[in-house]
């Protein structure tokens, strides 16, 4: 048996499901922060397999989904300058702004390139010295260090035509915002594995100490998730509240110190606008003053918090905001699967492959 097959072994999975069922007395309500977990849970059919012992709620952990429509609008407007090339990750190009998406702006003639890494964006800048190349930085602690590394590289090379429009966000402030709002009742948290690989699992210690709920950091394979849920179920049954690590092969207590140092050097904390959650203080990563030359906001005179609606799609009946806060399942939105599908999405949660609505739609269950 290969390593990967072990993590997906159906026999092990069935034993874990049985153990969870026999441990949980009525229902354990668990929120998964990370869109990667939402996706995996739906893909593996875990919601059905675990109901009613475990009720899974989805959190705001899809970096594309939480990007404010006002930020998209500002990016589109920046990209409309004839001298600007925008480079961006993945499906951010499809997220609707209040008027249009970056994809629509690209088809209209704006120069928008999808890159797989910020280093590809640097390469564009080297090859086209006459153009202003702007990296649209999105993502949590997982992608922010790679953009920070690119900023340092640009500085070393003395690149004059490259900058970052940072929309990077931090995970813990969003989780706090959700719990502080008191809209959802949860018993435990499935902690984000990739994020914790950078921050270390002890960064999630505030969950038990401040909010009185257990949190275990989990991997993304079928049996990773089941094992983490079993641990949370056993903690709950024993009345234990703690932070723990169920993703030992990827995550350490302290995390990736090099990546943390890169982030601390290049970014500083700032207030940031989150779709669904509003403006949260100290929840974003702005380019630090020492690197102002590489800050697109400074370079093009753009406001730190752009004006305009954060959740433009709400006017069209979209409930992404409530889905991102964990208070509504995608299926409970009146547009789900009717006016809103991955092909014709209304809100960002249906746009991004990591969004809850897209995962729930794409892997929708069938009776029988």
């Amino acid at each position: 048996m290969t390593q990967l097959e072990g993590y997906r072994d159906p026999e092990i999975a069935r034993r874990l499901v049985a153990a969870i069922r026999s441990t949980v007395r009525d229902t354990l309500r668990v929120i998964e922060f990370c869109g990667g977990h939402t996706h995996a849970i739906m893909r593996f059919g875990l919601r059905d397999a675990l109901a009613p012992s475990i009720e899974m709620l989805s959190g705001p952990g899809c970096p594309v989904c939480v990007t404010a429509s006002s930020d998209i609008d500002q990016a589109v407007s920046l990209g409309s300058r004839p001298d600007v090339t925008l480079t961006t990750f993945g499906d951010l190009i499809r997220v609707p702004g209040s008027v249009e998406s970056l994809q629509e702006a690209r088809a209209r003639g704006n120069d928008v390139r999808v890159v797989y890494s910020a280093l590809d964006s640097l390469q564009f800048a080297r090859e086209q010295p006459e153009r202003e190349v702007v990296m649209l930085g999105i993502g949590f602690e997982t992608t922010a260090p790679t953009v920070a590394a690119a900023v340092l590289q640009a500085q070393r090379e003395g690149l004059r035509n490259w900058s970052v429009y940072s929309m990077h966000k931090l995970t813990a402030p969003a989780m706090r915002a959700i719990l502080d709002a008191g809209e959802v009742a949860i018993d435990a948290v499935l902690g984000p594995g990739h994020v914790a690989a950078i921050t270390g699992w002890k960064a999630w210690g505030f969950m038990p100490s401040e909010y009185g709920v257990s949190c275990t950091v989990a991997g993304f394979e079928l049996n990773d998730i089941l094992q983490a849920l079993l641990l949370l179920a056993r903690d709950a049954a024993a009345g234990v509240t703690r932070v723990s690590n169920s993703y030992g092969r990827g995550v350490t207590e302290e995390g990736n110190r090099t990546a943390q140092a890169l982030m601390q050097q290049v970014f500083c904390r700032s207030e940031a606008a989150w779709r669904g959650l509003g403006v949260i203080p100290e929840s974003g990563l702005a380019i630090a003053p020492a690197f102002a030359d590489y800050d697109a906001r400074q370079r093009f005179g753009l406001p730190a918090l752009p004006e305009g609606p954060i959740d433009a799609e709400a006017q069209r009946g979209c409930r992404c905001g409530e889905v991102l806060r964990g208070i509504r399942l995608p299926e409970e939105c009146p547009l789900f699967g009717r006016g809103c599908t991955p092909v014709h999405p209304v809100g960002p949660c249906m746009v991004s492959a990591e969004g809850s609505c897209a995962a729930h739609y794409r892997y929708r269950r069938v009776a029988g």
Binding site: A13, R14, D91, L92, I138, T143, F220, A353, R364
Partner: protein, 337 residues
């Protein structure tokens, strides 16, 4: 449709591609043959007999990749589209659109690769065309190939022929080509590089037809991958298809790369794979014939055709729960988080 613009996702082979084809091309050009939306058209030859015709364009980047190149791909793609109707491919045409400044040595490598693949597949390139466009107006090389095949008597293979109770087979592991290209684009180095499965399937199909002339459906799951193609078949045949996740072959290194990038092998392109749908009684003989061919060594039965949920593909997951296996929508993009 007329007020929008063409987006890259219109070319991804999924839902948007289908909409573009139906709402513009079929609307204007549609006829009884084209409306079948098959891999190739089967028409009566004026002097008797039937021929199959098809055309395909190739815009892959990078042009050279482990397991193949755009030249090999351009022959395999058209040979395979003809084979998916049970036709024996005979003649190809080859049209090149070349960007100014493209190195001649690379062009020769591509054409030599076309020649070697055509020879291996037993087809002849009998007509061609070259156009050169200004620098910046193309992406190195684009190739179009068209092909003609001869249809043996008594063969009736079509995307619309799946019957309730039929069995679904594939000739091997899925996702190799798509993941090979994606890891190359991402500059990811694996200890054993992923190889495209790019191969001409006409010889495999000939062995399959010899063992089982009653094959109902053949289709090569290229863009959009296995999941998208199964959906097209379910729609064309107005049946449900139920797939056992545990039975779908995926190479371990492909599964690992897909996991790393946040992609799904079931939605990744294949260039040397086919789906066969046959009556249940014929499946064992067909599986034996496939497995005894080098391009079918990893063949497997992956599911069956059902009455429930016509037009829909259902996946029975590793846990035994059932969910929809949808068409690809949008482009497959690596994850951010």
């Amino acid at each position: 449709m007329s007020d929008g613009t063409v987006l890259l996702s219109h070319g991804s082979g999924g839902v948007q591609s289908q909409e573009l084809i139906e709402q513009i091309f079929v609307r204007h050009l549609g006829n009884a043959t084209l409306d079948g939306m098959e891999d190739s058209a089967v028409v009566d030859a004026p002097e008797g007999g039937r021929i199959a015709l098809t055309t395909d364009s190739f815009v892959v980047q990078p042009l050279f990749f482990p397991g193949g190149d755009i030249g090999k791909l351009s022959v395999c793609g058209t040979v395979n589209d003809l084979s998916m109707r049970g036709a024996r491919p005979v003649y190809l045409t080859s049209g090149f659109i070349i960007e100014e400044g493209f190195p001649l040595a690379q062009l020769e490598r591509i054409v030599a690769s076309q020649a070697a693949t055509a020879q291996a597949a037993g087809v002849r390139v009998v007509a061609g065309d070259t156009k050169v466009v200004e620098r910046g107006k193309g992406d190195g090389v684009f190739i179009n190939t068209a092909g003609v095949g001869v249809l043996p008597q008594g063969i009736d293979i079509s995307a619309g022929n799946a019957q309730v109770g039929d069995v679904v087979l594939v000739n091997g592991a899925v996702g190799d080509h798509g993941l090979a290209i994606m890891t190359l684009r991402e500059g990811l180095a694996f200890s054993s590089p992923l190889r495209s499965d790019c191969a001409p399937l006409n010889d495999l199909v000939a062995s399959m037809l010899a063992a089982c002339p009653a094959i109902h459906v053949l289709r090569d799951p290229t863009r959009g991958g296995l999941a998208t193609t199964l959906n097209e078949l379910a729609q064309r045949s107005r049946v449900g298809i139920e797939i056992e996740e545990s039975q779908v072959p995926v190479h371990t290194e492909v599964a690992a790369a897909a996991e790393l990038l946040g992609l799904d092998p079931l939605y990744s392109a294949n260039e040397g794979k086919l789906i066969a749908i046959v009556p249940e009684a014929e499946a064992p003989a067909l599986l034996r014939a496939m497995r005894s061919h080098p391009l079918g060594a990893e063949a497997a039965v992956i599911g069956r055709v059902t009455e429930t949920y016509p037009g829909t593909v259902i996946l029975r997951t590793l846990l035994g729960t059932r969910r929809v296996l949808d068409m690809l929508s949008g482009e497959q993009l690596p994850r951010i988080c």
